[in-house]
């Protein structure tokens, strides 16, 4: 077995909540030693968010926090304590990469901004990520991915054409930005390998998310058009929707993107004549008569389970997919075959499920080795063994509350 890709890479991780921790997670899952600096005086918000073990709140009981922090080491340190600075300096000296996602200006306030830290380590790579970047009139406007998803245009693009927009589930930007952040960090490591130079990366979650919406922005800039909300319909094809199936709130997505798929759909529904019906015989007609088309398809799907619809249609080469809830996702045969979910044993939570990165490397796959850390779980190991802090000082720092 080859070693893990990032064996030997040392990451000092001041991030919290979602976008930052997700950014360092793929490094950790591929072998980097990621040390998360936290403080019980200002706990990660996700440690205070459900689900909790047995539904009972507790700083080390949140599965929400755990989901984004596999394979990381956890140390505690009160950054507001005057003696924290000397510990930080030693951690910076130890690491290759610093990542943080505090409100812009916080690291400077503590004396740990890039200009300061590069004095200690000239080839340091440091990445700061925040909602809107380190500069500009709104850089200090606090927020989180849940509402940034609206600022970045995704909410506007979700919903029915007869209604106000609807929030896409969760915090979409928190799952886009971190990918680009990790990509940039690995690029910066390569640049340092070739030139010896470190650098500073200012990752605005707003700006980086917009790369995905470039087609939408070009349509505005070139044509003055605002992309519409279309429910589940597509500007490119019909039929295209989620159709009701047997059972309570069960649905199956169905689309026909080509003439061949359209004919196969009619065949699979046992209505081959439909493909030449004057209302539906061309793509243009199908787009015009979608309401009638949707009704016909819904009449067929509602007599069947979502799985039957999916398997029958996919068996004929027609795109179809059951609308799966989280329980069905966990038991999905494809995801199980691909070994996507792994159970790890957490000190407080017990056995629970973590996800693998969705890119599978043939030679050096990710390995989920450690559950998310409890607050300060690795203080002894990191401070004493890795940094070589004398026993006396370690005890002093503990007693004085520096390591809270």
């Amino acid at each position: 077995m080859d070693h893990l890709v990032f064996d030997g890479l040392k990451v000092l991780d001041f991030t919290w909540v979602a976008a930052g921790p997700i950014l360092t997670q793929s490094l950790a899952d591929h072998g980097a030693m990621v040390v998360r600096v936290e403080s019980a005086t200002r706990p990660d918000i996700l440690r205070m968010a459900p689900p909790y073990k047995d539904g009972k709140a507790g700083i080390d009981r949140s599965g929400y926090f755990a989901r984004f922090n596999s394979d990381k080491y956890g140390v505690s340190l009160n950054l507001n304590h005057p003696r924290a600075a000397s510990v930080i300096r030693r951690l910076v000296d130890w690491c290759d990469v610093v990542v943080e996602n505090f409100t812009p200006g916080s690291m400077k306030k503590w004396g740990f901004d890039y200009e300061e830290l590069r004095q200690l380590k000239p080839d340091l790579i440091m990445l700061s990520t925040s909602n809107q970047g380190q500069t500009g009139p709104h850089s200090h406007h606090p927020g989180h991915g849940g509402i940034l998803t609206s600022l970045a245009g995704f909410t506007h693009l979700t919903g029915w054409d007869d209604q106000e927009p609807c929030q896409p589930f969760g915090a979409l930007t928190d799952f886009i930005t971190p990918l680009l952040g990790t990509i940039a960090l690995i690029g910066a490591l390569e640049f340092r390998r070739r030139t010896g130079q470190g650098q500073y990366l200012d990752l605005s979650q707003y700006e980086s998310s917009l790369i995905t919406l470039t087609p939408v922005m070009l349509d505005l800039f070139a044509n003055g058009r605002e992309a519409p909300r279309m429910g589940n319909r597509s500007p490119h094809t019909a039929p295209h929707g989620a159709y009701p199936c047997q059972g309570e709130d069960k649905w199956c997505a169905v689309a026909a993107e080509t003439e061949a798929e359209w004919r196969a759909l009619c065949q699979a529904m046992g209505q081959p004549a439909l493909s030449d019906d004057p209302r539906f015989s061309t793509l243009e007609l199908r787009m015009q008569n979608q309401d009638a088309l949707d009704e016909l398809i819904a009449a067929w799907t509602s007599q069947r389970t979502a799985q039957e619809v999916m398997q029958t249609l996919q068996g004929q080469g027609v795109p179809a997919g059951a609308v799966q809830n989280p329980s069905e996702v966990l038991n999905d045969p494809q995801l199980r075959h691909r070994d996507v979910f792994h159970v790890l044993e957490h000190a407080e939570i017990g056995s629970h499920t973590y996800g693998m990165p969705p890119f599978h490397l043939s030679r050096t796959p990710a390995e989920l080795r450690m559950p998310a850390p409890c607050v300060g779980q690795h203080n002894e190991y990191i401070y004493r063994e890795v940094l070589g802090m004398p026993d006396e000082e370690f005890v002093e720092l503990l007693v004085e509350g520096v390591l809270e």
Binding site: V5, F6, A49, P50, G55, G63, Q132, T135, P137, H141, P142, G146, I147, L148, G153, F154, T155, T158, G159, W160, C166, Q167, F169, G170, L179, I183, A184, I186, G187, A188, D202, L203, S204, E207, I211, T214, P215, V216, M217, D219, N223, R225, N232, P235, H240, A242, P319, G321, Q324, P326, V329, P333, Q334, L335, V340, T353, P358, H360, L361, T364
Partner: protein, 414 residues
């Protein structure tokens, strides 16, 4: 050399669903060459078009995701084209493709064969479901991978069908995961000279974006339901509004807990009071004691009434500016116009003007995805014309003469 990855090469064989992967590598300095069939990639006809003129050089999708790339044409269905491809791939660092699993093997160009001639090659494959498993051969447009990946069950109104976004997010997520996978593999290659196969699934990419929905089921057997403009993930079954109507549109605001939440709610209540729109109930809440997990339905109903009134009496830009000034966790629900008009983005000099000489103007594009001090991310030149770089690439990479390139063209190989 001032790009992070200047001097490395990629061949990009993807269809529109995978284009964004190579675009990200190009932004970092990789010389990415789009390999198109003679006559051009059929997805060049993807709408919308510049000025709505349906033309293979005017698709805005093509422009958006192929910016900074080169283009060559190559007939991979015929033997001479395949031989040419074999020569090219020996000189490349990344190969990105989005064919159905097995397609490249069918051409005699599978990873097994190719990697023997270039063991350092990083082969990135981005498909709806991955290279193996029971759904391997399933068709997977965005709506299907969003459904099977769990996102749709969580989005939309409870009394209507589950929703996808009116934008193919699963392909964007998969393409970015593919770029990340390529980078992780590249880091390994730089240390060991060993390439590998990177297998990315759009369905799996969607499952990464479900926030806490999987742990909620896994640990507490709670199924988060779709709740439209509300959210239900954080409190015990009580839904909380997150998209609010105001006078001329919508804003996003969540009644969250924690230190930051308390600060935000206090500032908002103070603002309401200052405008004579204070609400007795809102003003009576001790936000430091507010706990999302135990807040009652009645609590949220009263909060919603008070906030709803306040928001409805303002425009979205009044609310946004007021929130910026007061540090309130409220955001615009931006339309594309709002994004284009953002004073913040222009103050950061975000937008890039990209010359498009063929249409006689420069077009505005979103700028670099990260601001890097030593090796800036480049917003590249406009997407290539069909076969625009045949001469250059075949000459520089393979050392063919102008006459040899002309001959290939005559024979229909390129």
């Amino acid at each position: 050399m001032n790009g992070m990855l200047s001097g490395y090469r990629a061949l990009d064989l993807t269809d529109w669903r995978g284009w964004l992967c190579g675009r990200v590598l190009a932004d970092m300095g990789v010389e990415v060459t789009k390999v198109e069939p003679p006559g051009g990639d059929p997805d060049r006809m993807r709408e919308p078009f510049y000025h709505d003129e349906a033309h293979p050089e005017k698709s805005l999708w093509w422009w958006a995701y192929n910016q900074g790339k080169k283009s060559i044409t190559l007939d991979m269905e015929a033997t001479p084209g395949r031989e040419l491809f074999r020569s090219l791939v020996k000189k490349t660092d990344f190969l990105i493709e989005s064919f159905p699993p097995g397609h490249m093997e069918g051409l005699g160009l599978g990873y097994g064969d190719i990697q023997t001639s270039n063991p350092g090659l990083i082969w990135v494959s981005v498909t709806p479901f991955g290279q193996d498993g029971p759904y391997r051969d399933y068709r997977g447009p965005d709506i299907v991978t969003m459904a099977l990946g769990g996102f749709m069950s969580l989005t939309g109104d409870p009394d209507r069908a589950p929703l996808r976004l009116s934008f193919p997010v699963s392909h964007a997520l998969a393409s970015l995961q593919a770029a990340l996978g390529a980078m992780v593999a590249f880091h390994h290659r730089q240390a060991t000279e060993q390439g590998q196969f990177v297998d990315v699934s759009a369905q799996e990419s969607v499952t990464t974006a479900l926030l806490n929905a999987i742990p909620m089921w896994d640990m507490n057997r709670v199924l988060i339901q779709r709740t439209g403009r509300f959210r239900s993930g954080l409190s015990s079954g009580v839904k909380q509004r997150q998209v609010w109507q105001c006078r001329d549109g919508s804003v996003a605001y969540m009644v969250v807990g924690g230190l930051g939440g308390a600060q935000s709610h206090r500032a908002l209540v103070k603002w309401m009071e200052a405008e004579g729109m204070g609400d007795e109930f809102m003003s009576s809440i001790d936000w430091d004691q507010f706990d999302m997990a135990t807040a009652s339905r009645e609590f949220h109903t009263r909060v919603e009434e008070a906030l709803g009134r306040f928001f409805l009496s303002h425009t979205k830009h009044e609310l946004h500016q007021g929130a910026v000034d007061r540090g309130i966790w409220l955001q615009l629900v931006s339309s594309p116009h709002d994004i284009a008009d953002s004073t913040h983005l222009s103050a950061r000099d975000f937008w890039a003007k990209v010359p498009h000489p063929e249409v006689g103007e420069s077009v505005t594009y979103p700028g670099p995805f990260v601001k890097a001090t030593a090796s800036p991310i480049q917003v590249g030149t406009r997407a290539p014309l069909v076969g625009e770089h045949n001469q250059e690439v075949y000459a520089e990479v393979l050392g063919l003469s102008a006459a040899e390139v002309a001959e290939l063209k005559e024979k229909g190989v390129i």
